[in-house]
């Protein structure tokens, strides 16, 4: 998959009949990246950074205002409905809230089998059963639970059902939109490990969206950091955690609390003050400049482009060459 200069804008209308006002929210603004077969890309950003909108645009669930999403060279957003539908077999999504994403009045069998019936209406019942039991085993559910309803399962098991549904058609790409944010840590680790193993076994391309950097690290080959709809950095995993190129990435890394009392107490803070600005009125120049500790004049005037560094990693910061943001391990 190749994404070029993708932008999704929402128009917000407010005000009365007499004085209507419209605002444009640039939920995703000029994002480009390549995703290779069998690669896992982590996408990280705070709420409102455009992660979920990006996910929906990648799957052609919403129309972008600019840019292209190329799937094996074909622009998804230019396809007619019928050809797009065929492509959808290869692209699936796993949602954040495992319970809300499952129809409470359908049995597990029907939930998982629904994509099969949609794409192969004439498929034999035996085949469906076989396939459903197969994927259930694959995601660690007991096949004899096919006749149960979602409420009989815990949150972690519901997420497994969601994953089974995504895998039943043998997709090439699975987009996971915060698949573990709603789960307890002990269960979160189960699901991360499951996704990692399935990805390897089935050679899936995975886009794994999360709001903090700690979980993403265990599953990604490369990580993209987003802020206010823009990609701030796109780097190979180990490089990003060792020496981030963008001040925002470095702040996000430092903000993750370490579960060790001695280290946690000497830890310096992230250096960031305040909140993310409203997407209705993003700051001019670099969108991050209002919170950046390394601000210079140029950042307020000129939007930094996402550019390729010598190492092959990408960054959108005017000062990337001169800043050394190596993460210092304390203790």
């Amino acid at each position: 998959m190749r994404v070029q200069d993708l932008a999704v804008h929402f128009i917000l209308r407010e005000g009365g009949l007499l004085r209507p006002k419209t605002h444009t929210i640039k939920a995703v603004d000029g994002v480009s990246f390549d995703l290779n077969a069998g690669e896992t890309l982590g996408v990280v950003g705070e709420s409102g950074s455009g992660k979920s909108t990006l996910a929906r645009a990648l799957l052609a669930l919403i129309k972008p205002d600019r840019g292209r999403v190329l799937w094996f060279g074909e622009d998804l957003h230019k396809l007619d409905e019928e050809s797009l539908r065929k492509k959808r077999q290869d692209m699936q999504i796993v949602f954040q809230d495992p319970l809300a994403a499952l129809n409470p009045r359908m049995t597990v069998r029907n939930i998982i089998a629904e994509p099969l019936w949609t794409f192969f209406p004439k498929i034999a019942r035996v085949q469906v059963d076989e396939r459903v039991r197969g994927v259930m085993k694959m995601v660690g559910l007991l096949p004899n639970q096919v006749n149960r309803y979602p409420h009989e399962f815990s949150a972690g098991q519901c997420q497994r059902i969601g994953i089974a549904r995504a895998l039943v058609l043998n997709p090439k790409l699975v987009i996971c939109d915060e698949p573990v944010s709603a789960l307890d840590v002990s269960v979160q680790a189960q699901i991360v490990n499951l996704l990692k193993n399935l990805q390897k076994k089935l050679n899936l391309s995975l886009v794994f969206i999360a709001h903090d950097l700690s979980v993403v690290r265990h599953i990604s080959d490369r990580v993209m950091v987003m802020y206010l709809g823009r990609a701030m950095e796109l780097s190979r995993r180990d490089a990003l955690y060792r020496r981030p190129l963008h001040p925002y990435t470095s702040a996000l890394i430092k903000a993750v609390p370490v579960p060790d009392p001695r280290l946690a107490r000497v830890k310096t803070d992230s250096g960031l003050t305040g909140d993310m600005p409203s997407p209705l009125s993003p700051p001019p120049g670099c969108v991050f400049h209002s919170r950046c500790p390394y601000l210079i004049k140029r950042c307020q005037m000129e939007v930094p482009a996402l550019r390729r560094m010598e190492s092959g990693d990408w960054v959108a910061c005017h000062r990337a060459e001169e800043l050394d943001l190596t993460i210092v391990k304390s203790g």
Binding site: Q157, V187, S214, P257, P259, P261, D269, S270
Partner: protein, 320 residues
């Protein structure tokens, strides 16, 4: 004397499916100026334990046991007696800032009500005081913010308003239920800094309910680990993080993704799922998920006291 002493607290709920045992025989004590963390997975009874202490249980809830606050049992008090303490000597920061602020009222009304009631301040004095508090939690331009409605603020701002409200009355005991769960990591750091600064300033005792072991490590003095409504381990942060005795505590610590360790490491998950509170197993409640379970675990393990007030509910400690 401990500021708060909870003894044998039991909380149950009647539901159409039967009785849910949310908290079982929970005991702990808390001294002034100490920060205690209640950690455990969702459904482990953390929130219901403190809600019952404050008399905030849902209608189908029952509570028994004792909760002595400065020697007086909160569970025996009527609403009037409780109201003298709630919001005054004891304050609470609720989990979700969106649903616990009244959407119809401006911030100033919600903040001044507390001090006008408990401190007898006039409206104008109370407003000045509330603005000061907002400034103390580092809200920019507090004079303007205080005139706004909750929906006009970002999630992080709303959570800071909640913290400011909790601190208005300079409580002796502050109960914070997942105060950082709904905010972004960068704001999370700011809120924990605020809480530790204020603790130092006014020697407030804090009960922090959290599932985030990173936050707890940085902020708390003591940790109480709960599983299926029971305390399974209690000790100082150092004891819990460096020398965890209970297999559940060990499992929890191992399942946290850590940025200070190599990323290629596979996360160690605890197998299985938390038990159903409607139908709790006999014996050790963690038995089914425990990698070290053996025959003795069919019986309920007693709470054992180790060195320096380090307590844990596991048979393994006995044989070692």
């Amino acid at each position: 004397m401990a500021l708060l002493e909870v003894k044998d607290l039991d909380v149950g709920f009647d539901t159409p499916e039967g009785k849910v045992h949310a908290v079982n025989h929970l005991s702990f004590s808390l001294e002034a100026g100490v920060t205690l963390a209640l950690v455990g997975e969702s459904g482990s009874g953390k929130t219901q334990a403190v809600m019952s202490i404050l008399g905030l249980l849902a209608e189908n809830g029952h509570v028994s046991g004792q909760a002595l606050f400065k020697g007086q049992d909160l569970l025996q008090m009527n609403t009037q007696e409780l109201n003298l303490r709630r919001g005054n000597e004891i304050a609470m920061i609720f989990q979700d800032p969106m649903t616990s602020l009244n959407p119809y009222l401006r911030i100033d009304r919600q903040m001044t009500e507390v001090v006008m009631h408990h401190k007898g301040l006039k409206k104008s004095e109370a407003t000045v005081y509330a603005v000061e508090m907002l400034r103390a939690v580092q809200i920019p331009d507090p004079e303007r913010i205080i005139r706004q409605y909750p929906h006009e603020l970002s999630g992080g701002m709303r959570q800071k308003v909640m913290v400011a409200m909790g601190l208005l009355s300079e409580p002796e005991l502050l109960i914070a239920d997942e105060p950082t769960a709904a905010v972004d990591v960068t704001v999370q750091v700011q809120i924990t800094h605020l809480m530790s600064a204020l603790r130092e300033k006014s020697n407030t005792a804090i009960i922090l309910i959290s599932h985030d072991l990173g936050i707890v490590a940085g902020l708390c003095d003591r940790v109480l680990v709960m599983y299926a409504g029971e305390a399974v381990e209690c000790g100082s942060v150092e004891q819990i993080y460096y020398d965890p005795k209970h297999p559940y505590t060990q499992g929890l610590l191992n399942s946290v993704p850590r940025l200070d360790q190599p990323g290629s490491r596979e996360l160690e998950a605890i197998p299985g799922n938390p038990p159903n509170l409607l139908n709790l197993p006999d014996g050790c409640k963690f038995r089914d998920r425990c990698p070290k379970a053996f025959d003795a675990c069919r019986e309920k393990p007693p709470m054992q006291l180790g060195e320096d007030r380090h307590a844990y509910r596991c048979f393994l400690g006995l044989s070692e």
